[in-house]
Amino acid sequence: MAITDIRAFSHLTEDDIVALANEFDAIRRDVENSRGPRDARYIHSVIRLQRVLEVAGRCALFGSRRRSRWLIGTAALSLAKIIENMELGHNVMHGQWDWMNDPEIHSTSWEWDQTGPSEHWKRAHNYAHHTYTNIVGMDEDVGFGILRMTRDEKWRPINLLQPFANVVLALTFEWGIALHDLSAKKEAEGVPPAQWNSGPNREFAVKAGRQVVKDLVFFPALTGPAWRSTLSANLTANVIRNIWAYLVIFCGHFPDGAEKFTAEHYENETRGEWYLRQLLGSANISGGRAMDFLTGNLSYQIEHHLFPDLPSNRYPEIAARVRALCGKYDLPYTTGSLARQYWLALRTIHKLAVPDRFLKATSDDAPETSSERKFDRWRPDVPAPATEASTGRHRGLLTALRVHAEHAVAERRRRRGESRRRQRSAAV
């Protein structure tokens, strides 16, 4: 069972959670009040860079019959598409730049370079995913309806194909997202899924058609004799962008430590608990400024989920404050390298392809999901939440997790010893 009671899970008192909410609110206020010309310059230069890269890439591909030009053109185009999707499209449509009051860089007017229409994506992502983050059954982004990413979901025979489905999803990610958003849009509008000429279907067909024709017909045709190599370059750029977007999303939501929640919890959630759910439900990717930029600052997935509408270029400074708060309230801050985070997600994908009877851990205490019940067995040994009067430091989840881990290690050792003894006595 995923987390039903985040207060019990976080080992914080009600007052602690209220205090924590105030601290998060203060971060929001400070950033909101200090948005200004520096931020505006940032987004303008990203837009300029993206457009220059795209034009340069398209131009280079006129000579794409030469291998070097093909490589340069494909690299520039891939990079342009990655920047357009991550740092621009995703963030602009979150309303991160709405404060500038610029109709051209605004959540209501931006259309992105992907097969799915922005309108559909905003409904599924900004609303469903960001409101119901990681609530099993409410947040459709948990596994995108294709993968079983938590053992809170029942195993079905189709899950045996998961390792294969995962590769297909990575390669065609924009289509996966587009179809996922389309069904969310249909559900929101109450259109029967089978009705082929519904509004959402038409919007999807127009957008996807335009995208396909642009990359796979118009531009190749435009380069004349180089059409074949331009076509392969455009396809490659789209796939590279797809894999990258897939990687970033999976590393932000599915490594161990990114917790899942139940709908029961959501029903009576306070503002502080909402913040806690975002914090505990997401994972960061550690890396340098280049990593931050290429992921559209979604390497700060935790900060993004806490403050989805604050400008992305401010996430590094927000992260410093969030980490400090995690220290003060004794909460985990899940982060790791891209390779590590992806390895953890990959492990879950493959593990959960098989039925539960082959799995050891329970859904209360598994690497990819846990609940407040994971502490039940050793509850007497887990110290109660408290605040150290001298330092103001709170005792919370990290301390509990440490005690839990120590017990788990001790138990594993004991069991190993036991089985060895048994083997020895059997041998004798």
Binding site: R28, R29, E32, N33, R35, G36, P37, R38, D39, A40, R41, R48, R51, V55, M93, H94, G95, D98, W99, M100, N101, D102, P103, E104, H106, S107, T108, E111, W112, D113, K122, R123, N126, Y127, H130, T131, K207, R210, Q211, V213, K214, F218, F219, L222, W274, P308, D309
Partner: protein
């Protein structure tokens, strides 16, 4: 759908109604640059080439009085110079990373000849944007523009007898009318209609367009200006009209100035039973009602209105009267409920920040600050 329409389609919403080759070309290229438009690339080269929205460039700033200036703007692609004298435009300036949006009366006469328009701005003591425009906007600055609008206009042909009553910066829309009359008189070699202009300003040096008014007075026999310096002689009393302009009851009157003056004029004309002969421009700067007392919200598209307190969100208010409101998370994170604020002010309940017309607002976390209109 014909071929031409099909080609134009991707760019159709950019400059609707414009039936020109440029739209066909734009649409064709848009198919290559989708989802961006050619403009998104072009305006990086020249900001005035944006056809997503009207843009303009400030060509000169001319001091009118110590606290007012005329701003001359060269509009970019798509601007229609066929506006009516007396109309106003929306203008947006990029200051401190944000676009700030206000409306100002045009002072220029509508003509395609000079390819420029002008507005006159008086610096208000607390007016952030007006002070910036008067005091320090550099020539060459690119501004956003909204098409001219408003029905405080001079008809063509004008009535034979006109009375203009203005005070302070209320003279600006009248200036456009005067310049238009002057231009027509010269171009068509006709006489000006019979115009009396009563204008009030604190002192002589506060009179905007003073030399131009004097020139009109000198060159046109049928134009008479009466300037009142209120610091010396006090406010112009409407009872003085009989003396200054005895036939005022027979004239079509255009009046623009402070709220009080307009209220007085309405009352005076109504008691005379000639309220249909007066045209008013409510010029006073509308300010947010920060008392937090809410106001009447009008939902323009659905035509519904509702009066609410300062704690009710606009989303709740709209839903309570059945306006078609987009909604999402109801906590200010998902931006699904964002709609344009057409008129008035709203307050962000989370930060207390104020938003004014020309901005798009999140209805789920905003409340009315005085009367406002939303485009939904």
């Amino acid at each position: 759908m014909g071929l031409k329409e099909w080609i134009e389609k991707p760019a159709a919403h950019v400059a609707p109604g414009e039936k020109s080759l440029s739209n066909v070309l734009r649409g064709a290229v848009a198919r290559l640059t989708t989802p961006l438009l050619p403009d998104d690339y072009l305006h990086l080269v020249n900001p005035l080439w944006s056809a997503r929205e009207l843009r303009g460039r400030i060509v000169s700033v001319r001091q009118e009085t110590p606290d007012s200036a005329t701003i001359v703007i060269r509009p970019g692609w798509g601007f229609d110079f066929g506006y009516a004298p007396g109309q106003y435009i929306g203008i947006g300036l990029h200051i401190e990373g944000r676009w700030h949006w206000r409306s100002y009366s045009l002072t220029s006469a509508p003509t395609r000849d000079d390819k420029v328009i002008s507005i006159a701005v008086k610096a208000m003591p607390e007016g952030f944007l007006s002070s910036h425009l008067v005091g320090g906007v550099p020539e060459g600055t690119v501004v956003r523009l909204a098409a001219p609008q408003g029905d405080f206009v001079l008809p063509d042909p004008p009535p034979a007898k006109i009375l203009f009553m203005t005070a302070g910066s209320g003279i600006t829309p009248i200036m456009s009318m005067l310049r238009t009359l002057d231009r027509r008189a010269v171009a068509r070699e006709i006489d000006l209609p019979d115009v009396v202009h009563i204008h009030s300003a604190p002192t002589a040096e506060n009179v905007m367009f003073r030399s131009e008014l004097e020139r009109f007075d000198a060159t046109h026999d049928r134009f008479r200006v009466h300037v009142r310096h209120t610091r010396e002689k006090g406010k112009f009393a409407l009872s003085e009209l009989d003396e200054v302009c005895p036939d005022w009851r027979e004239r079509q009157t255009w009046a623009c100035g402070p709220q009080q003056m307009l209220d007085d004029i309405t009352a005076y004309w109504t008691t005379e039973g000639i309220e249909d002969r007066v045209h008013l421009e409510r010029f006073a700067v509308s300010r947010a009602d920060t008392s937090g007392s809410g106001g009447t919200i009008t939902f323009a598209k659905s035509g519904k209105t509702v009066t609410v307190d300062g704690a009710t969100t606009i989303l709740e208010a709209g839903e309570s009267v059945g306006a078609l409101m987009p909604f999402g998370c109801r906590m200010g994170i998902c931006q699904t409920c964002v709609v344009p604020l057409e008129k008035g002010h709203i307050v962000d309940l989370r930060s207390g920040k104020e938003h004014a017309e020309g901005e798009r607002v999140q209805t789920c976390i905003s409340a009315a600050a005085g009367d406002c209109t939303l485009d939904v």
